[in-house]
């Protein structure tokens, strides 16, 4: 269970999140929507512990542990995964090598044995096949020369291999054509299970047609200003933020 209480986050001296509260229980899928500049990406980076995202007040606990005391890799070891809006390229490092290093690092953190090379190969090939990824892509350097859709598919393959208990997807759907969107949705739906939590951050309700959330929140000016079921996303699509009485300077 993820519990965020009264979270205040400052970036470059400017306060972006201003007292955000959010609880995600095991098995739940939450979606956060909101206008540009509301603090959506700030929330995902603060959760994962990126440098420069300073928590000035409040708390983030996951399964009773204080995430704020942990380095980004420790949080990953605790089961946190972030699907990036703009996945980063790492020249010369094959997808396969990257993921195996990451997985083994997480396993070491959890006090588990490293995965045998053969088992890893089987695992990654199976996950790539589930998400229609050409196995040749696994040998290519991480995200180098990948199209936008390929990068997002790669994020989903990584997520499937690392098998996190809490996945945060930061606008993973933006800029995708319908086929790529369906791949992303497949990735999320395959992860969905009673012991896992998922937080989707999105601009559009389109993704929610494929991954139906339990809760939809609207984030504006650093706070969650409205919470509802999946129908809230449809209402937002129809009326817009203005129509729901939400302005950029809500708080």
């Amino acid at each position: 269970m993820l519990e965020i209480k009264n979270l205040h986050v400052t970036v470059g001296g400017k306060e972006i999140l201003k007292g955000l509260n959010l609880t995600i229980n095991d098995g739940e899928v939450h979606a956060i929507m909101g206008p540009n500049g509301a603090g959506k990406s700030t929330l995902s980076y603060a959760l994962c512990g990126k440098d420069g995202y300073e928590v000035t007040q409040g708390s983030i606990t996951y399964n009773g542990k204080n995430l704020m005391d942990m380095d980004p890799n420790e949080r990953a070891g605790e089961g946190l995964f972030l699907g990036f809006q703009y996945p980063v390229e790492i020249p010369g490092v094959s997808n396969m090598n990257f993921l195996r290093s990451a997985l083994n690092s997480q396993r070491r953190y959890r006090g588990e044995d490293e995965i045998a090379a053969v088992d890893f190969l089987k695992l990654i090939r199976a996950k790539a096949a589930e998400l229609d990824m050409d196995p040749e892509m696994l040998k290519r350097p991480v995200n180098v020369g990948f199209s936008g859709g390929e990068k997002k598919r790669n994020e989903m393959v990584q997520m499937a291999v690392l098998d996190p208990s809490l996945a945060v997807l930061d606008e993973t759907d933006s800029g995708l054509d319908i086929d790529a969107l369906k791949i992303v949705a497949t990735g999320i739906n395959r992860l969905r299970s009673p012991d896992k939590s998922i937080l989707m951050i999105t601009h559009y309700q389109r993704l929610l047609d494929y991954v139906v959330p339990d809760y939809v929140h609207i984030l504006a000016a650093g706070q969650i200003v409205k919470t509802g079921g999946k129908e809230l996303a449809l209402e937002l699509e129809e009326k817009g933020y203005m129509g729901l009485g939400i302005t950029e300077s809500a708080a």
Binding site: C48, K50, D51, G52, D71, P72, N73, R75, A76, G77, F81, L82, F84, P87, V88, E89, I90, P91, G92, V93, N97, F98, L99, S101, A102, L103, S105, Q106, Y109, P141, Q158, L162
Partner: protein, 484 residues
């Protein structure tokens, strides 16, 4: 031994210092400090060298006296007092070394552990007195036997001077002339150690040759001299150095390496250099001034240099190729890492003399801390070198904002048919890349190592397999503490 006594007598006559600690202690195997004709005679006598070699050394010394220390490299260090250096000291006896690993610098042991070096090997590397017969002795014996069967000569340079004088006379100084540069002249006068390799016609050396197996000469010499000759149609792969940091108290190193390939022969020379780089504040560390050059004398012959440079406070090194034979090929693959206050000025020279010669240069420089790394390269196509081709790629990677990377390429073309390409990039490890790796579960230092290894992949893949695995780990260790 007679020669040795004579030399001692000579030195005694000349130097006043002699009576202090030199003559009184017969067992001391050290020449007095400083450089003089007498010290050179002493070295030559110690090695029981033939007369011609002593004459060669003395001539080199005379040349050296007339030369100036070069200052064009982008390295900054206090002036070296050449009279404040010992030019000869015999390998330390077992009693001088640490008695067990407990007496060895824990920092060194930690690095060995990270490199996955076995305890037995750690003892050897750290200079612990090992009195039992360890595995590699028997390995080395089998090894030498096998080479002998193939007709390959693989011995120390001193042995070669005795046993193969004709080959030595023919090749010594034939690629790097005595007066080539200040440090090659110095080396020619005082070299005390090194390797001699001769691969006969048509022989493909059945294993990678490595100094590691030349047990008797395990101590890295301060002024090493290496000659490798690949006769017609032969092939050899030679490994120099070791990924483990070596215990070494000599501050100045000036080695000379000469490679010669005849028709259709190939030499692959791989180096991993991991000498003491000095501490975090830039104190101490080795000065490494090396002259490495290969001559592709025969047609369609090939020389390939691969180097991973992570150690030394100062690195001054330009492994080069003279492409004399028609259709000969020169290659230079380099990774140079500098951290803290290290300085590296390294690169290559490709001199195209024969027709249809080609060369490839791939240089990867990584700078971290307050270090400076310079690539300095020359591609020269002579008038007679029809259809010469060169491809050069120089990439620099910066970690942090207090280090520097410089690229100084020289291109001289005297034949209009030449095709020369040069590509250069400079990039930084971005916070985004680091965060991406960390978010996936990698620790900061592992993330840096992964990104750097990716950056160097084009070079690392040219290292022999076993070397490459260790070198990869070494990259990570060299950059410890460079981020965060």
């Amino acid at each position: 031994m007679v020669a040795t006594q004579e030399a001692k007598q000579t030195v005694q006559d000349v130097t006043g210092e002699y009576k202090y600690g030199f003559v009184t202690d017969i067992e001391t195997e050290k020449a007095p400090k400083g450089l003089s004709e007498d010290v050179i005679r002493f070295i030559s006598a110690k090695k029981d060298e033939p007369e011609w070699l002593l004459a060669w050394r003395l001539k080199a010394y005379q040349k050296w006296l007339t030369m100036e220390e070069p200052t064009w490299a982008m390295v900054d260090y206090p002036k070296i007092d050449f009279q404040d250096i010992y030019y000869y000291s015999a390998p330390k006896s077992a009693e001088d070394g640490p008695k067990s690993l407990d007496e060895v610098d824990p920092e060194l042991l930690r690095t060995y552990e990270k490199l996955g070096i076995s305890l037995k090997e750690q003892e050897v590397l750290a200079g612990v007195a090992v009195d039992i017969v360890f595995d590699s002795v028997s390995v080395a014996t089998t090894f030498r036997k096998k080479l002998k069967e193939a007709g390959i000569i693989f011995c120390s340079i001193s042995e070669a001077a005795h046993d193969y004088p004709e080959l030595m006379k023919k090749y010594l100084g034939s690629v790097v002339p005595v007066a080539d540069n200040y440090y090659s002249a110095l080396n020619s006068a005082v070299f005390t150690d090194g390797t001699f390799v001769y691969i006969p016609k048509g022989v493909r050396c059945p294993m990678e040759l490595s100094t590691y197996f030349r047990i008797n000469e395990a101590n890295t010499g301060q002024f090493e001299r290496t000659i490798i000759i690949a006769d017609e149609g032969s092939y050899v792969s030679y490994l120099e150095g070791c990924t483990a940091p070596q215990r070494d108290e000599n501050q100045l190193h000036a080695a000379v390496v000469e490679l010669i390939t005849h028709d259709d022969a190939e030499i692959k020379y791989s180096t991993v250099q991991n000498w003491y780089p000095g501490d975090k504040d830039g104190k101490g560390g080795i000065y490494n001034f090396v002259t490495k050059r290969g001559a592709c004398r025969g047609k369609n012959s090939k020389i390939s240099w691969t180097q991973v440079e992570t150690g030394s406070a100062i690195t001054w090194k330009y492994p080069s190729c003279l492409l004399i034979g028609d259709g000969s090929v020169g290659e230079f693959y380099s990774v140079a890492i500098t951290n803290n206050y290290q300085q590296a000025d390294t690169g290559t020279k490709m001199i195209h003399i024969g027709k249809n010669t080609s060369s490839t240069i791939i240089s990867k420089g990584i700078s971290a801390g307050k270090s400076e790394a310079t690539y300095r390269g020359l591609v020269r196509v002579m008038a007679g070198a029809e259809n010469a081709r060169n491809f050069t790629q120089c990439d620099s990677l910066l970690i942090g904002d207090k280090c520097g990377a410089h690229t100084v390429p020289y291109i001289e073309i005297k034949n209009p048919t030449a095709q020369v390409e040069h590509e250069a990039t400079t990039s930084k490890i971005s916070d985004e890349q680091l965060f991406y790796c960390q978010q996936r579960g990698l620790e900061t230092e592992d993330s840096v190592a992964l990104i750097v290894n990716g950056f160097c992949k084009d070079v690392m893949k040219n290292l022999p397999m076993e070397f490459a695995v260790e070198a990869q780990k070494l990259l990570g260790i060299s950059l410890e503490g460079s981020v965060g």
